[in-house]
């Protein structure tokens, strides 16, 4: 009998319910509070379903394309290579023999359509579609080695801070309906707001979409997880693992999405977003982070290698903040915080326990 109630609710929603049905529905609603919950939930579901559909916007343009096709195929049997003399219009072709040789099929088509009185709007649309395939697309790539980060301004005015050891690429003119960027690595995006042109960053199987906001994405193809952190505005993140599209996750400022690349599992964190994007100004903040992770991060940004001899040392947790410091100052700070020694030689830094401490222990 539950189906009966569903049927009535659906008819009520569609406004096709009759008087008897309405009376029956009312009686069912009044008989219990649970029925009222069922009713309101079902209405919400039907409302949401209906909201899926957006009115089409290109009806006229679509018809123009069809009309142009109809006109273009109207006299298919006519000889296209031998235009009738009457259609050789002086205004189309300057009167000279060599110019006549330039008279190609396309011009004949224009002449024919004008003759049959088809509107030029339809013609233009047809020509656009006829030549649509031919335009080549060039991509611009930008790639940073370890130790170097850079800033680039896109054709739409958006700014990307590209991190060390990272790479982006995008269609050169950036003029498509969607503003698309591919990212492998880390970058901070400051996107210019354009209401009708979504900005999409593809990083592996994760797509981040915005209209105009600022956010940080850390998505190294080799890493186990992708991190999207929002500084301002609202961001939609979509994952596509195992070929099935996942749900859209929305993030607000100071929210972060952590996506595991192996299984698509997603975790939402609250975080200080400016700490995460601080690297763009050479500011690094580490909250209770293992020495191993700190040195991996610094290695990439400064373009050096850290050797932590003893694995146990790598597990030490530190909280540290480095504001626009040269590497030497950073390692000094780390020495003081950790009580370990950081010795640099040829872009390689070795981390050891201090000799004095070892001697002290031996005593």
């Amino acid at each position: 009998m539950e189906d009966r109630n569903n049927k009535l609710i659906a008819a009520y929603f569609d406004k096709t319910i009759d008087d008897d049905g309405l009376a029956e529905l009312k009686e069912w609603l009044e008989s219990s509070e649970e029925n009222q919950h069922i009713f309101s939930d079902t209405i919400r579901i039907l409302t949401a379903s209906k909201s899926f559909f957006v009115p089409p916007v290109k009806q006229e343009a679509s018809w123009s394309r069809i009309a142009a096709h109809i006109a273009a195929t109207k006299d298919k049997s006519a000889d296209l290579t031998n235009p009738p003399a009457a259609l050789v219009d002086e205004t189309l072709i300057p009167g000279s023999a060599s110019a006549l040789q330039l008279y190609n099929v396309k011009n004949w088509l224009i002449a024919a359509l004008t003759f049959f009185g088809i509107s030029t709007a339809a013609l233009v649309t047809y020509q656009q579609f006829a030549t649509k395939q031919v335009i080549p697309v060039t991509y611009t790539s930008l790639s940073n080695p370890e130790g170097r980060s850079s800033r680039v301004t896109l054709p739409d005015g958006s700014i990307i801070h590209l991190g060390a050891g990272s790479k982006i690429s995008y269609e050169k003119s950036f003029s498509g309906k969607k503003r698309m960027i591919s990212l492998d690595g880390e970058a901070f995006f400051d996107v210019k707001h354009k209401a009708d042109r979504p900005f999409v960053v593809k990083s592996g199987k994760v797509s981040t979409v915005v209209l105009g906001t600022s956010f940080n994405i850390k998505a190294f193809s080799a890493a186990a997880r992708i991190l999207v952190t929002v500084n301002s505005g609202k961001v939609g993140v979509m994952t596509n693992v195992k070929g099935k599209s996942g749900v859209v996750n929305f993030l607000l400022p100071d929210e972060q999405l952590e996506i595991s690349t192996a299984d698509g599992v997603v975790v939402k964190n609250t975080i200080n977003a400016s700490a995460v994007s601080g690297w763009t100004e050479n500011n690094f903040v580490y909250y209770n982070t293992s020495l191993k992770d700190i040195t991996s991060s610094l290695a990439r940004h400064y373009g050096v290698k850290f050797n932590i001899a003893d694995e146990q040392l790598g597990k030490i947790k530190l909280t540290a903040k480095f504001n626009d410091m040269p590497l030497a100052e950073v390692t000094d700070n780390l020495e003081q915080l950790s009580g370990l020694s950081f010795k640099m030689h040829n872009k390689e830094i070795t981390v050891l326990r201090h000799l004095q401490k070892r001697r002290a222990k031996m005593k």
Partner: protein, 189 residues
């Protein structure tokens, strides 16, 4: 070449209009087009999740109908139109198998755009719809299709039954299954 006035045809049935196509009557096609464009776009978007692509696919179908006007006899026009769109949409999706590309097709942009274009005070209603739409996205394909189809204007249970090749009773039970499933999910969340 005299052009027939469009309003002459608005009373004609779908079948009468397709008969006129054999006389090379483009106005008959235009009437058919205007009559069915919106619901066909909606049905197509159900699969493609990309409204722009849907509009193109629908226009392509009408071009095809024109091209084949002399060689085919369509018995049930409405059923034919929706069934064709279904096939064209599924073909479209097949071609987009690459997971990276299919993300584009999914209405991320649509979700984000719809969300962002509304003033904050109205967001809560939209948010609720978005949540449920995401759940609908995860329903079994057949339930999702029947549920959304039932919400397209100009599509009734008989059309759904015909296009999907099932009985009207099955359409109803599938619809109610979908609604029950979603209600359970709403209770949990």
């Amino acid at each position: 070449m005299p052009k027939h006035r469009l309003d002459m045809y608005t009373e004609d049935s779908d079948e009468a209009l397709t008969a006129r196509l054999k006389c090379d009557d483009a106005s008959a096609l235009e009437t058919l087009f205007n009559r069915h464009y919106k619901p066909l776009c909606h049905y197509c978007a159900l699969f493609t999740r990309d409204f722009a692509a849907a509009e193109e696919i629908v226009a392509d179908l009408f071009i095809k109908i024109w091209d084949n006007r002399h060689s085919s006899d369509i018995l049930n026009v409405k059923g034919y139109l929706f069934l064709s769109i279904r096939n064209l949409s599924l073909n479209f999706l097949q071609k987009k198998k690459n997971p990276v590309d299919s993300i584009e097709d999914i209405t991320i942009a649509q979700h984000v755009l719809q969300d962002m274009n509304t003033p904050f005070s109205v967001l809560s209603g939209r948010e609720a719809n978005k949540r449920i739409l995401t759940m609908i996205d995860l329903l079994p394909e057949r339930q999702r299709e029947v549920l959304l189809m039932s919400k397209i204007d100009a599509i009734d249970k008989h059309t759904i039954a015909q296009v999907l090749g099932i009985s009207v009773r099955t359409v109803e039970t599938t619809l109610y299954q979908a609604i029950r499933q979603l209600r359970n999910q709403l209770k949990i969340s």
